[in-house]
């Protein structure tokens, strides 16, 4: 894996956004060959989305030939609800960029047949040629998407009941009223994300430090599902200093020492203007 450690949240967001930008620009997506991007929601990737929007506004990055697949969506929450992941993606990303709406895929938590919705989603990903780069976050309980502790590490897109930890963590988006937080969600499986060509996990903040420790310094374990990516050939963890607080000094020093190598991935930063 690559463990990229930046000083703070803003720098981590910027590094991640530049990496995504370079990957897309380098790929030279076209009508015959789309760049498929897996996307997360939540407070961690917010800064990264802001940066990507900036890159688009400055004319350096286009999403015209990018297909996106979000990781998850609540079950039973009206799509227009301000806390739905559809609303999040619209307000924080889609409305600011030039993506074709037909290429922005999000699981429908209000589908009549949830299981059919999940298998259809897997098929859409396959039809798109698989995911080139899946961007994700990590929960305080070490989950990727809504693959809660105990989720199979070879799971596919399905319905999951949320763990108490997750509900508590999300309560702040629902007026701190636990009863208002949805209890189920549709989520891509650990196996689904593992199938992508590359995985980038964003982890910022001290409250995620223990989860990061469990994910990369302990074994592969279905109780900390992000640990599955230890077995993926191309994983990048992008984090800030605070997220490394539970790691061994040795681990942090090693990867910080590699920053000059990591930075070659984002410097120079590429632009479609140069193509």
């Amino acid at each position: 894996m690559r463990l990229v450690i930046l000083d703070d949240y803003d720098l981590a967001s910027e590094w991640a956004a530049k990496y995504i930008r370079n990957r897309i620009v380098e790929f030279k997506p076209s009508a015959d060959r789309y760049f498929t991007l897996g996307l997360p929601t939540g407070s961690t990737p917010y800064g990264c989305y802001q940066k990507l929007i900036e890159f688009h506004r400055s004319g350096d990055l286009s999403f015209k030939y990018v297909k996106t697949f979000n990781m998850d969506e609540y079950v039973g929450l009206p799509r227009a609800h301000p806390e739905s992941y559809h609303s999040y993606m619209w307000n924080n990303f889609f409305k600011h960029i030039d993506i074709d709406p037909a290429n922005a895929h999000i699981l429908d938590g209000n589908a009549e047949d949830l299981e059919a919705e999940c298998s259809a989603y897997e098929q859409k990903i396959a039809a798109a040629g698989g995911i080139e780069l899946f961007v994700g976050g990590i929960g305080p309980d070490g989950h990727i998407a809504f693959n809660e502790p105990g989720s199979s590490l070879v799971s596919r897109t399905r319905v999951k009941t949320l763990a108490k930890d997750t509900i508590v963590a999300n309560a702040r988006f629902f007026g701190n009223d636990l009863s208002k937080v949805p209890t189920m969600a549709l989520t891509v499986g650990v196996g689904t994300v593992m199938d992508s060509k590359e995985v980038m996990i964003l982890i910022t903040g001290a409250h995620k430090a223990f989860a990061l420790y469990k994910a990369i310094e302990e074994g592969v374990n279905h109780m900390w599902t992000v640990s599955a990516f230890q077995q993926h050939p191309h994983t990048i963890f992008v984090c800030d200093e605070d997220a490394t607080l539970e790691l061994r000094v040795k681990t942090v020093k090693y990867f910080k020492g590699l920053m000059h190598v990591h930075n070659k991935l984002v410097d120079p930063v590429l632009s479609i203007k140069d193509q």
């Binding site: 799509r79 227009a80 559809h86 609303s87 619209w90 307000n91 889609f94 409305k95 074709d100 709406p101 037909a102 922005a104 999000i106």
Partner: protein, 406 residues
């Protein structure tokens, strides 16, 4: 291009680079329009997989709902109360000109006139939507003749009336029919006014109190029966008195039925109301303030003498008097001037100033689902303004109908 056309084939406009008035604040958001209505872009994106056909760059402008003037007697030489052969032409001329002031809908107002005038004028103009030819007509505002002789202002005394029995006959005898009437101003102290107020409200016609010597109690009774507006607050009514605040007291009355608001018209031209009085009213009841121009035929014309109703008016600078007197006869300020003056005199926010000319009059007339705001589904009647609140461009149903320096 809107992709799956599951809802509509009509072209979609996206107004970008603007600050829109929504949720009582100015937000940096784009405004989407289709079929003359404000569109929900999120639904468009997810349900229809659609996007805009054309972008309209607003150049950083403020985008507000088009202004609504519920009291305007004429302008540019046209006097709505003059019984001509082609009243519609006069209304159309004014409707076209007021687009320059950001007005997208208005109520042509008739001052106290003899029945013959109402019978001739009213049938000639119907309620209709605005468009490239001019602002929309929401219906007539009939100011009089059922008003108090002691507070007639510029209205001719010989045509004032009282209610006979308080039934429909009184109204039809004077006005003819009530089709196309949006509002009636009357004095509630007139005997039998209560049944008239009820009848008008049942017909969906707003009742306004004005040109009256009513005390607070009489005014409150009228509100109980459905009255919801005060015609040009402070003018043509008893002054505020601390033991009987009169009509002015409605602003803070505790006898307003729950869920209802009493609105009040303010002529914020710097002349009809002292700024300190404007501030008192605004601070007492900000949600009810409705900016009106009460503009007369001379608005838009050079200084001199002009007819208004059955009388002659004289322009001196920004003042318009009944010729030979010092009685104010109406104003020649335009709606955008009123918005600017109101903001400057009251110290209110930009949002409040804009809502006083759009949202509040729409709420008064009960048309706020379609007009006076930029919520999804509302008519796309827009006014684009610079930071000094000067009108740059006016749109009706999403189409540009006036541009400064076009």
């Amino acid at each position: 291009m809107p992709s799956n056309k599951s809802v509509s084939d009509a072209p979609i406009s996206q107004f970008i680079n603007c600050r829109i008035l929504r949720g009582h604040t100015l937000q940096r958001e784009d405004l989407w329009v289709r079929d003359g209505k404000i569109l929900d872009p999120e639904k468009l994106f997810f349900d229809e997989q659609g996007f805009a056909d054309r972008l309209v760059d607003c150049g950083g402008s403020i985008v507000a709902p088009g202004f609504i003037d519920v009291q305007i007697n004429g302008g540019y030489g046209v006097d709505f109360s003059q019984p001509t052969e082609d009243v519609a032409a006069g209304v159309s001329l004014v409707a076209k000109k007021v687009l320059e002031h950001g007005v997208t809908s208005f109520c042509p107002t008739l001052v106290t006139s003899p029945p013959a005038v109402y019978h001739q004028v009213l049938p000639q103009v119907q309620v209709h939507d605005g468009g490239p030819d001019g602002a929309g007509v929401l219906g007539f505002h009939l100011e009089g003749p059922f008003i108090s002789p002691e507070k007639k202002g510029a209205h001719p005394e010989r045509y004032l009336r009282t209610f006979g029995s308080g039934g429909m006959e009184d109204l039809t005898e004077v006005y003819g029919g009530l089709d196309g009437v949006a509002m009636v101003t009357l004095a509630p102290e007139l005997p039998h006014s209560q049944s008239v107020v009820r009848m008008l409200c049942q017909k969906g016609i707003a009742v306004s109190l004005g040109h009256s010597v009513a005390n607070l109690s009489q005014a409150e009774d009228a509100v109980q029966h459905g009255a919801s507006f005060i015609t040009h607050l402070f003018n043509a009514m008893l002054p505020f008195h601390h033991r009987d605040p009169g009509i002015v007291g409605l602003l803070t009355s505790d006898r307003i039925p729950a869920g209802r608001t009493v609105f009040y018209g303010m002529i914020a031209d710097g002349i009809h109301t002292n700024p300190a009085a404007l501030r008192i009213a605004h601070r007492a009841h900000p949600a009810g303030l409705v900016l009106v121009t009460d503009a007369i035929a001379a608005m838009g014309l050079p200084p001199g003498r002009h007819p208004l109703g059955q009388q002659v008016i004289e322009i001196q600078g920004l003042h318009a008097y009944v010729s030979g007197t010092k009685t104010l006869s109406g104003s020649i300020a335009t709606m955008d001037m009123c918005v600017r003056h109101f903001k400057q005199a009251s110290g209110c926010s930009v949002e409040e100033a804009l809502e006083a000319a759009s949202l509040h009059p729409a709420q008064l007339l009960g048309i706020s689902q379609k007009k006076g705001n930029l919520d999804y589904g509302a008519d796309a009647d827009l006014v684009l303004l610079d930071d000094a609140l000067r009108v740059r461009t006016t749109y009706i149903s999403g189409e540009e109908v006036w541009r400064k320096d076009a």
